[in-house]
Each structure stands twice: as structure tokens, then as C-alpha cells.
């Protein structure tokens, strides 16, 4: 006991001496072993950010369910548009997702939008006024990077994806460039995982090819709902934009096609097919899917190649909105019916 006390005294004296040398209080030195695991835990937490960051819930229940809860937040997500003229819808969908992300944070970090000169010329340059009005993304939280070549755009996106100072990176490319292969997408995906930030890869007019992205969505435009007034929906007006999203690839492996609706005021998504009660006619879509023959004969002057080729097809197309389809009756503008 006495020996113990003496020993402890010596230890205390030594500890005090070390504390003096180190310039801290001796109490701080008390558990030198404890700081190790603590730092470890910090480290685990840091790299674990990627996993624990979880999912980006869009709010459209059935869509989320099909994706097993939502889009992965710290990952590369591919958004495909069939044609370059769909670029508005594809970009709109990506920005809506980015907007959902920004809504959750108190201090919005900027979104970096990387594109090649070609795509910005072909599909239009992002317009900050529209983004502010439709998605609440302030001009201060927008950064554009315009690169002359695909290689440069990929490099910028890769550098940006590793930054935690950005809230999302949008990389927009056209077609199937050779440089955007499995390796390049894998690098993007890894960076996104490390930083815990999403990277949206917008691919306009591109064919699906194997990439490292866990989720691939094919985005197409869908008719907007009419504006809602006190007296009910107003025919012929363009209200909330519709976005038809097809799951091309996901971890949950549930294929599905969803028509989402973006509410620019609330800044939320709606699942139109199921939340159809909101001034929406479910029968409208069903009918369009069923009869794909032109309701009104084509005008004699204009020949639409898409419509002309339709009878040749052996099987009716399952797409709800075939390219050459005529608008169903309630969608036609009021002034034409008059």
C-alpha cells in the first residue's frame, strides 16, 4: 500500500513534469490512450460519411419505393435524355434534386455545373433567373464551368466532385464520348462517395452503356398540369411541369416508369400517377396509353414522319406519350376549340 502510494506519487510528479514540458495541464495528459480511439472514431466517422449520408428522398412515394428509399446521396447518378431538345427537362430534374438537397442545409453551398462548350451551345446555357424562379437556387450558389473538350470537362468535374465546399456537381455531356468510360465514371463515383456529395451526370442524346453509376434514370418530358384556380383547373394553361422518369438501372433492380410533377412553389415532387387526385385526370394518361391513333386526322399540309410510320409497327408502343401522338381532347388549347 505504502509502496503503491510512493509509486503513484512518482508517477504524478513525472506527469506534472511532462505536462510542464508539453505546456498543458496535467489533467489533460490523464488519458493519453483515450485520445487514440477518439481520433480513430473521428476518422471512421469521416470516411463513413459516404455511407451514412444516406438517401435523397424525392418525396414521390412510389418512385422512392422503387428506388429502395430514394436516390443515393453520395454517388454518381446518371440522368439520360433521349434527345438534345429534352435537355431542359433533364436539367430541370437534376436541379430539382439539387434543390431538395439545398433545402435541407442552412448555408447553401454552391452547385457546380460543368459542361462542354458544345452542349451549352446546343442545349442552351443555364439561365440563373429561371433557376431562381423555378428551383429557388440563388445566383450566388451557382457556378458554371465551361470546358472546350470532354476531357477537360471530366477533369473539372472530378476535381469538383472531391470538394465538400460544393453541394452538388452537375456534369453535362452529349452523346457517348469515348473518354466517358467505366474508369472515368468510377473515378467520379469514388470522389462523390468520399466527399459525400452527389454528382449528376446529365447525358443528352446518349445510349445507355455500362458505367459505374449505381442509378441510371431516363428522363423525358411529360405534359404539365393546368394551373389551378379558385374555380378549378384552368384549361390550356401550363402549370406544374411533368417529368417522366424511367428507372434504367438501380440497386433495387425494380424497373418502373413514373410521372413526377415538380411543384415550383413548395419545391417538392409529386407522384402524378398515384397522387392523381390533385387536379389530374388519371384516365387521361390511361387513355393516351391505350389508343395511340391520332384522335384528329393530320392536316394535309404537314406530314409528320413519326406519325406516318406508326401503322407499320406490329405492336403498339407501351410508351404513354408516343412522339407523334395528338393531344387528347382536354389538353387542346381553348382557342383552337372555339
Amino acid at each position: 500500500m505504502a509502496m503503491n502510494a510512493v509509486a503513484r506519487d512518482t508517477v504524478f510528479a513525472l506527469r506534472r513534469q511532462i505536462a510542464k514540458i508539453e505546456g498543458t495541464l496535467s489533467e489533460r495528459l490523464d488519458a493519453p490512450a483515450g485520445s487514440g480511439p477518439d481520433a480513430d472514431r473521428m476518422l471512421v466517422r469521416r470516411s463513413g460519411v459516404a455511407e451514412s449520408h444516406g438517401l435523397l428522398v424525392t418525396g414521390a412515394d412510389h418512385f422512392d419505393a422503387a428506388l429502395n428509399g430514394g436516390l443515393p446521396k453520395a454517388a454518381l447518378t446518371e440522368l439520360h435524355g433521349a434527345e438534345t431538345r429534352d435537355a431542359g427537362t433533364v436539367a430541370g430534374f437534376a436541379l430539382a434534386l439539387a434543390c431538395l438537397l439545398l433545402k435541407k442545409t442552412e448555408t447553401p453551398a454552391p452547385i457546380l455545373w460543368v459542361g462542354t462548350t458544345e452542349i451549352f451551345r446546343e442545349a442552351g446555357f443555364p439561365y440563373a433567373r429561371g433557376l431562381e424562379a423555378g428551383f429557388g437556387i440563388a445566383p450566388e450558389s451557382l457556378l458554371y464551368a465551361e470546358a472546350p473538350k470532354t476531357t477537360d470537362a471530366l477533369w473539372i468535374a472530378e476535381e469538383g466532385a472531391g470538394l465538400t465546399a460544393l453541394s452538388a456537381v452537375v456534369l453535362e455531356l452529349r452523346g457517348n464520348p469515348e473518354r466517358l468510360d467505366l474508369t472515368a465514371t468510377r473515378r467520379l463515383h469514388r470522389r462523390a462517395q468520399m466527399a459525400g456529395r452527389p454528382v449528376f451526370l446529365l447525358r443528352q442524346a446518349a445510349l445507355a452503356e455500362p458505367t459505374a453509376a449505381p442509378v441510371r434514370l431516363v428522363v423525358a418530358p411529360a405534359p404539365a398540369t393546368p394551373r389551378n384556380t379558385m374555380a378549378g383547373p384552368l384549361d390550356g394553361t401550363i402549370g406544374r411541369p411533368g417529368i417522366a422518369v424511367t428507372i434504367g438501372k438501380s440497386r433495387a433492380a425494380q424497373p418502373g416508369q413514373f410521372t413526377l410533377e415538380w411543384n415550383p412553389d413548395e419545391r417538392t415532387f409529386l407522384d402524378r400517377r398515384h397522387a392523381g387526385a390533385i387536379h389530374q385526370r388519371p384516365w387521361d394518361i390511361q387513355k393516351r396509353a391505350k389508343d395511340h391513333v391520332a384522335v384528329v386526322p393530320l392536316s394535309s399540309s404537314g406530314t409528320d414522319p413519326a406519325a406516318a410510320s406508326r401503322p407499320v409497327l406490329a405492336f403498339p408502343s407501351p410508351r404513354p406519350s408516343p412522339a407523334g401522338d395528338q393531344p387528347s381532347r382536354p389538353q387542346r388549347p381553348a382557342h383552337r376549340r372555339a
Binding site: 431538345r85 429534352d86 431542359g88 427537362t89 436539367a91 430534374f93 436541379l95 430539382a96 433545402k103 442552412e106 447553401p108 453551398a109 454552391p110 451549352f120 451551345r121 442552351g124 446555357f125 443555364p126 439561365y127 440563373a128 433567373r129 429561371g130 433557376l131 424562379a133 423555378g134 428551383f135 440563388a138 445566383p139 450566388e140 457556378l143 458554371y144 464551368a145 465551361e146 470546358a147 472546350p148 477537360d152 477533369w155 473539372i156 476535381e159 469538383g160 470538394l163 465538400t164 465546399a165 460544393l166 423525358a220 418530358p221 405534359p223 404539365a224 390550356g236 401550363i238 417522366a244 415538380w262 404537314g302 409528320d304 406519350s321 401522338d325 393531344p327 388549347p333 382557342h335 383552337r336
Partner: protein, 489 residues
Amino acid sequence: MINHRDRNAQRIAALDERAEALRLKPGMGIADARAMHPSIDIVEADPLADLRLLDSLADWCDRYTPLVALDGIDGLFLDITGCTHLFGGEHAMLDEILARFFHQGFDVRAGIASTAGAAWAAARFRDRCIVELGEEEALLAPLPLAALRLEPEIRSSLESVGLRTVGAVLAAPRAPLVRRFGVALLLRIDQALGRQDEAVSPRLPVAPLSVERHLAEPVILIDDIERLVFLLATALKTDLERRGEGARAVALLLFRVDGVVSRLVVGTSRSMREPRLILRLFQEKLTAIAEDFDAGYGFDLVRLAILATAPFDMHQADLADATEDGEEDLALFADRIRARLGEASVLKPVNVESHLPERAVAVIPYWQDAPQRISPPKKPAGPRGLPSAVPFQPERPIRLFQVPEPVEVPASEIPDGPPLQFRWRRALHRVAKVEGPERIAAEWWRQEEPTRDYFRIEDTDGRRYWLYRQGFYDASKPPPRWFMHGVFA
């Protein structure tokens, strides 16, 4: 031999030693020279190329002093005040400069004096001459009047009264000289003698800070250059710390052994002094120019100059030593892209007060501050940083075409109404729904731009477009044209 056209006659502008040996002179007619020696080789003068060459020589002379000024079309002023000791004194410096020029293949005459005027005269009339302070008069006195850098008219009128040397003019009383020949003459005399200051305006602004390293063995590898950049940046860091500043623009000057000077400039979005970061920017720059980077026989002088500085805002690290440096990361990211891909590679939008949609947003480089006049008054931010109480936000597309694209509209039901269908990029689009028109006219001071009527249009596939009709229907005018200006989500 080089000829030039002077008053409609081809004359000799310059000639080499062999032509001089043939007793040809500058100013002689080309026709006469040809008659004398039919075999001479004549080249057309190219003053711009001469100037470029002089410029590159001035670049090269940067290694001796940052204050290099061009003098006419064939001279350089080097302000070597305080630089001579670096090269072992005035004599050694003069010898070195002349030797190096000689090895590059130039015939150079040089002189050193305490005043620009005396140095000019010494270089042109007394080669390899160093004029000590106070000896200017002795130097100038026997020289012809051309040594005073006078206008030809003044010189000829002086000569017409018999004053043929500088000494004669110096001996003459000053007041009558001014009355007869103007102030310029005495100004030149005073400047040459050091009675009046003469400003030699350097070609490039002098960098506030610069460090350089002379290398005994020239370096060729990019890795070595990067290592040197790091060393030099480390040396600059202490100076920047003492001044409480950081760098906003840094230039790297590489002096090649054969006299070619490469100048790489990187800009930074925020003031920076960390050598590691400066090195990273130069790494990007060197990567970008890797293809046409020609080290030749190597670089024997590497200089790192800070062209612009700004106050450095210090951050105190918190106790856990984890500072929030997101902004800094972003700035560095933008700088690296800028260093590699050019000035306008990272952009940010700024709202501008304008009716015209394409003018309502200005896209400026990331590191620029928005000019005060184009930034609209700040709206008070509501919760979550979203602007609160926005009375009316017009619907605007999310993508705008940089140049509105012409659209063919075959028919619209009523003249001023929306189209029923339109052809854009050779595809026919049938209009399903229309909203509009929204009439947007340019500001009153832009009278020449016609009024536009914008329509939001949804086609049968559900794509939403922003079309406008430029101008109005009028029987006397050609029908207005339609344009596609943007797409909605």
C-alpha cells in the same frame, strides 16, 4: 540589306557589314544601289517584327533589372540603380551584357551613365563607356549635336548658326538659346547633365515582390522547375507575411539559355501566400502548356514575381484545429481550373437590372467582383436563405440559348396570336398549350431593338419552350420573325 518606302521611293533602311563594305549607305535609293551592285539581296522592312524582336530582347534584359524601357526602335534603357553589385560592379555587368548579346548574334553598343541622356550619348557615340557622376559635360562637349536627342529641325537651325558640337551649345548663354530654339533644347541639356530628372518609364509594371535564382547548371525538367518554384515561393512567403499581404497574381519567368523568356502568369481568387498552393497553380499551368513547352538547352534563371497583392485575411484556427475552409477549397479549385483552362473557365451568374432576358443575367468570371452598378439591391433573405416576399416572379426558362434560334412558323390563327405549330431545328413541333404573350421591350435607350412577344408553349410531347415573335404584323412591313429563346423544365 533591308529596304523601306520613304516618300514614294525605295530606300535602304538598314544594311549589314558586307553591304557597308560596298560603300552603300542607309537612305540611299534602292535603284541606285542595284545599279552599283546588281547582286545585292534586298529584304522588305518589317517594323512590327523589329519591334517584337526588341520586345523580346527587353524581356531578356529583365534578368538584369526589372526597369527596362524601350527607346525608339533600336534602343533599350536599363535602369540598373542598385543592381550592379549583383553582377560584380558596373564594368563586369557591362561586359557580361555585351558578351551575352554578342553570343546571341547581336551587335550591341552600350554605355553606362548617371543620367539617361548621357548614357544614350555614351552608348551611341562612345562604345563601352562608363561615365562617372560629374563627367557628363566632359563626355558630351566634343560630341555632335545628335548626341543631345534633339529634333532634326532644332539641330539643323543650331548648325546653321555655327553651333556644331554640344560643347559650343553649352558655352552659349542660356536665355538667348531658349528664345531662339525653344525650351526643348535646354530641357535635353539639363536632362543629359543631370540638372533635371528624366523619368524612364519601364515597359512592365514593377512587381512588388520577386525572387530569382541564377543557376550554374541550366534546368530542363519540369520537375526541377516545380521544385524551384516551391523554393522561391517559400522565400516569398516571409516577405508577404511581413507585409500582411497575399498574392493575387503570380508570374513565373523562365530565362532560357539562348535568350528566350517564358512568362507564365497565374491569378488567384483570394490572396494566397502558401508555397504549396502557389506550386499547385503552376503545376496546372505547366500541365496545360506541356505540349508546347520547349526547354531547349535549359533555363539558367528562374524568377518568381508577385504582380499583385491584396491584404491577407488571417483565420484563427479553433481549438480542435479544424477550420472551416470550404471557401478556400473552392477558391483554390477555381484558380487551378483558371490556370489550366484559361480566364473564362469558371463563371458565376450575377443578376442585372434589365428587361431583356439575355441581359438580365451577366455571367462573369468567378474571381471578379460584381460591379456595383449591375448588382440589384439585395432583398432581405427569409428563412433558409430564400428571398422572402417576392411579389411577382415571371416564369423564366431554365436554359437560354446564347443566340435566339430562328423558328419557322407556318401559321397562327390570329396575326398576333401564338403559333399552331412550328419548325425548330428541322423538326416539326405541334403546339398543345400556350401561355402568353408576355411583351418584353428593350429599355428606352435601346430604341433599335424591336419589341418581343414571348409565349410559353408546350408541344404535344410535353416539352416546354419559350418562343418569341419579334416585332408586329404590319401590312407595309415584312412579317415578323419567330425565335426560340429558351426551354423550361
